[in-house]
Symmetry: C2
Subunit: 411 residues, 2 copies
């Protein structure tokens, strides 16, 4: 297909290419930026992106954000490559603003149904056996504004409460082995040190499986907006249980039914009842190119459709892509390595003809056999009153002129 | 071992822990940072580390740096977790400063022994099939100041011309398939757009294998210091051939013997001859905790020795660690996934007794069977006149008081 598309790749012969851009800078001329010495090493204290990338930022939605201390900002997924989210663009969800934690005074208290209540300093944690894992984190409200229909303007807002980092820290099970669990220990409470004292109940079984008490994010210290100096990493589970600015873990024998697991973060069902403790982020995917922020305007020809897939239940097994709204599907290529509970990049070639209208969809399946539902099927099961855990197949409409629009298709 | 070390873990009972730090902030008191709302979402345009991490920076060595436009800055490896290097801390090596490239005027010219010379815009490249790979990059002069003896003060300077990123871009072989190679094409010249017009010759076979024309680094655009908007990624090969600010690839039938592959980046041997085109970064490793910047002062007990291993020839197969200067070795645990030509984190538990002197070493082996040599063996083969490709087993001396010093041991 690439070979067939060669004529429309856009790469120009030397003569044609030289006609665009500032002629002084184009080959074979040495461009102006090569005619003088640029800045040397570490002119900046800490490196930042090119000024030409200044538009690549987290953004918030004003009508969602009455108060920025309890709100969300979205990762610019349309501008992302690969699977790692740069920490400076990691989505934010705060319940009481970002606390300014002094690491020297920071302590983690573990108490409750344990043999030996303990306090850990940051240095204590860094001495202990550690692990590093690449995992996505997703707010369960990701896509939550789209239950009743398509309303968000682009992928940054339909899916941008989603990021992926390499996290490093101590397995929580090691800390619990130090404190010793009493026989009836079955739940724990994790409490954050922010102004909301954000608290969530978690089953001990998950702590004994893969929860990490993390101090590292993408190679350096966890960023303030992600919980500096220490947060929980709860692989595959909804972001609000990855408690930030972690200060206390209490061990008990039942859930605490705190505000953030009763009033919020429950799934209102069509019969008026609410599902509680729906921790797992179900299998999901979205196409990030093309998308509303990255249209095809004026450029027919070869396109590599690319996107992200993820599942809180395990590895992504397959992603199918449709350009006709789900009538026909082709299986995309997955970027190796495909990691457990990590973002997975998928890609598939396509030839777009100018004037062609196309409905782009992706449908992910994970290693447990879970498959993304259509929005119609999801509404049938869950109604439209919920805010959380909307993992429906997403549709981008490519208009004849190459514009890309967020739409929903009944099926 | 962890269980045995429990008594010396440092974690304190609630009563003892409360004695350290500012008592007002320690459990069970709510710390001062939880008593008022912190800043909300995206107060900053682009996220930055905590102000408590302001000491974690690239640094240069003044006596190495007469001129910052042609110099190097080092990654703070002692502060790094996992394998990803945050782009803001990626080591730098510039030959003529950092050019300010306008991406709208940027072009990649491919010409020479090709059927169809072509110019590519950045948008052209982004339409094409892409790959993402996690690879280390290392300057072959890494450790080059230590041929005659230990002289650098810490791991940032002995090994910090080393970073690892997720790189995204177009396989160079796809671009060469577009231009078409003439039958006698066997080498290529890559030229950068900086003031030095940095140029290196590379065999076509490597381009047809795994070279990437990269526009993405750790999820976002390649940073200016790493070649914005486009650089070569040449997996496993010395950093200077990963040409930054790439502007031109010429295809030929022999190497060009440019300045940076004759005057520089050759290996002076004991007989006065120089090896040329020694591209591969040989298998190497270093312990990053403990190290001179992260000593054990005043904290006997359990320590997780941790470090990084890497090989330009493939995957790391094994890392052995010694605490007695190489008399006895234990095999460390490798953090999965172990990726091809990527940094690999190794870890092994140790119990340090105060007053104990220890000589810490790590010895990596890769999947091809290459093993790190001792410094004595390397000097025997290569002499001491070289600057490049020093991959000897490295030694940290832990003094009885827990201070850590860079030393070399004859063997």
């Amino acid at each position: 297909m690439l070979k067939a598309a060669a004529g429309t790749l856009g790469a120009a012969s030397l003569a044609r290419g030289a006609a665009a851009g500032n002629p002084d800078n184009l080959p074979p001329n040495p461009p102006e930026w090569s005619r003088s010495l640029g800045p040397g090493v570490i002119e900046e204290a800490y490196g930042t992106p090119s000024r030409h990338e200044a538009h690549v930022l987290r953004r918030y939605v004003p009508w969602l954000t009455q108060d920025r201390q309890s709100s969300v900002s979205f990762t610019p997924l349309a501008e992302m490559h690969g699977i790692i989210t740069p920490s400076g663009l990691h989505f934010e969800r705060h319940h009481g603003g970002v606390p300014e934690v002094d690491p020297a005074d920071w302590r983690l208290m573990i108490h409750g149904l344990v043999e030996r209540p303990l306090l850990f300093t940051l240095e204590d944690l860094k001495r202990l056996p550690s692990v590093s894992r690449i995992h996505f984190i997703e707010c369960p409200a990701n896509g939550g504004m789209e239950w009743r229909g398509a309303q968000m303007s682009g992928v940054q807002y339909t899916h941008g409460m989603l990021s992926c980092s390499e996290w490093t820290g101590v397995p929580l099970k090691l800390l619990l082995a130090q404190t010793g669990l009493r026989p009836n220990a079955s739940w724990l409470l994790a409490e954050g040190g922010d102004a909301s004292l954000m608290t969530r109940s978690l089953p001990i079984a998950k702590a004994l499986d893969d929860i990490i008490v993390a101090y590292g994010q993408n190679g350096e210290a966890v960023r303030p907006q992600q919980g500096y100096p220490v947060r929980l990493v709860v692989p595959g589970w909804e972001g609000n249980v990855w408690v930030k600015w972690l200060r206390r873990i209490e061990v008990g024998d039942r859930p605490w039914y705190h505000r953030e697991e009763t009033r919020h973060y429950t799934d209102l069902m069509p019969d008026g009842r609410a599902r509680k403790f729906t921790f797992v982020n179900e299998v999901n995917s979205v196409i990030t190119f093309p998308c509303p922020e990255k249209p095809l305007n004026g450029r027919p020809g070869f396109v590599e459709i690319a996107g992200l897939a993820w599942s809180g239940a395990g590895r992504i097994a397959r992603v199918d892509v449709s350009v006709d709204g789900g009538d026909t599907w082709r299986t995309a290529q997955l970027q190796e390595p495909v990691l457990d509970k990590a973002l997975t990049r998928f890609r598939i070639p396509w030839e777009w003809r100018e004037g062609e209208r196309a409905f782009l969809q992706s449908r992910a399946m994970d290693e447990t056999g879970r498959v993304q539902p259509t929005i119609t099927a999801l509404r049938r099961a869950r109604g439209v009153e919920s805010i959380y855990h909307r993992n429906a197949i997403h549709t981008w409409l490519v208009e004849p002129d190459g514009t890309v629009v967020n739409v929903q298709i009944d099926d």
